[in-house]
Amino acid sequence: MEIERRSFTARQASARDMLRGDLEGEDLERYVEEKVVTTTFEKMLNLARSNSIFPLTFGLACCAIEAPISIVTARYDLARFGAEALRASPRQADLIILSGRVSIKMAPVVRRLYDQMLEPKWAISMGACSSSGGMFANYAVVQGADKFMPIDLHIPGCPPRPEAVMYGFTKLQRKIQGNPDQGWRQRYNAVGTEEWARGGPASTPSPEAAEAYLAAREMSLA
């Protein structure tokens, strides 16, 4: 929903004229256009969803002290993004932030929690441990939550600063609104540098995965 905006002084002048009742014709039409937003229902819905996410109170390990505890406190206030209401029950939550290392004993529990959440739902994998096993390349840690559940966003760091989590959160908001930050590969001339997870460029993805990839590609190029 990008709207061309005139400069501040111009808008101020037209507002003043409107108050006086002096606007007519084309100026009046432009004024009305700027005040009324028209969009599709889908986009409205996504805007509403992204600005009122209910995260799940789910903390596994060290990252849990940074999020969800530290980001809801006063300095790094998550409430300004509308995500203040942390729900304890997965049935009422939209977002699960995997904050911490996922051990082999906890993985089925996390999966069950994710399954209990209702659509639409998103998952953020916060920190190195849940994104890829982190520094713990051993028998007890699942090397990345990707192995057993779909993740929408990964936040690097050990632990990531609360500002990093907020940045990831706003990125997720843009993704929910249908405007994912995928265009950087075009901007920086980096098309073709995608890393394939566990298969290599010579491996053939499943038809659904290939379709999803092409769809995402199109959306970013559009």
């Binding site: 390990a61 002290i65 406190t73 304890a88 028998y139 050990c158």
Partner: protein, 419 residues
Amino acid sequence: MAEHEVREAIAFEDAAALTTADLTGELSEDRTTELMTVNIGPHHPATHGVLRLVVDLEGEVVRDLKPVIGYVHTGIEKSCEDKSYWKVIPFVERMDYVSYFFQMQAYCGAVEQLVGLEIPPRAKYLRTLFLELNRIHSHLVWLGTTALDLGAISMLWYCFRERDRILDLFEMAAGQRMHTRYFQVGGVIEDIPLGFEQKCRSFAEDMPVRVGQYEALLDRNEVFLQRTKGVGIVDRERLLDLGVTGPLLRAAGEPWDLRKATPYLVYPELDFKIPVGTVGDNYDRYRVRVAEMVESAKIVAQCLDALPEGPFIAEDRKYVLPPRSELSTSMESLIHHFKLVTEGFRVEAGEVYNAIESPRGELGCYVLADGSSKPARVHFRDASFVNLQSFADMAADSYIADMICSLGMLDPILGGVDR
């Protein structure tokens, strides 16, 4: 269980005279004393981390309790066997993830004992300073989350306001808010920057005032007192038998603190008291920890006053990296640097158990060296792991709400419990 019998329809006028016994058949003896087993966790808003409790309930009263742990078991001890001695430091930090400096101190102290390395006085003072700052940090996190569990929700914001100030100090000195890997074998990794002392001093002066504010909120709050006074009492002998240490033991009246009993670093030269409780209920545990925060602030101020000049890490190049400025001029330094970074230093065979006082109790580190550059076994005796055994005693024959209160006052950190 009595079988359900189909009852005839009862006229409305007669319904008021019926009792529950009429409607449900006879209440047999078994029905009234039946135990219901309920699972709490591992995902639960009030368990401090992924702790699973299997509780036997009789109505609302807890009869028996079994903690099931291991949901954040990370195999840190096994990973440590694979890394050289200084690479182990970031691993052990992440066990008890709220009091990370203490794990570093326990491990570095053990390795220094194994190797026979003396750390310079400035490093000792800096280590003590950061340990006490971390103690305040740990108690603040505890107070915020426990008060949140009990319903005093605004305490979380106040405690974390102070906690952010401490993390600013950590970030100033070490670059990271949490898991700073600040302690190294031989001292600390970097000296404190300019401006740190000022900021730290103003924090240490503010801290008792803030603690006064927390006490003003909670100490005489009727709801808080009713929930914590007389709840979760375990007597001293039983706690000692169960191996419980730290504020839990001190709240029960036993003045056992490793900082005074087996002093390490510069604790012999500092003037501080150890708060000890009388009854051993949850209220005493709360008071002991809050008083410890004030004592730690005093220690921080004393350390800043007495901080000596000098090197911040030992000079022995066999175990400690040389400063980077020397690398371009001295061949030996380059060789030492290379050796230390690629292989690490070797430690002769031997084993050592080093115990310090963490915010939760005795934190012991056992290091077994076998002559190579990697430890053969690193084991942590974590305070929360042993303290958790007393939870069943605390929660027996009390309501669920009291159990939740006891769990908060027990202050378990599941990273340390599960390692």
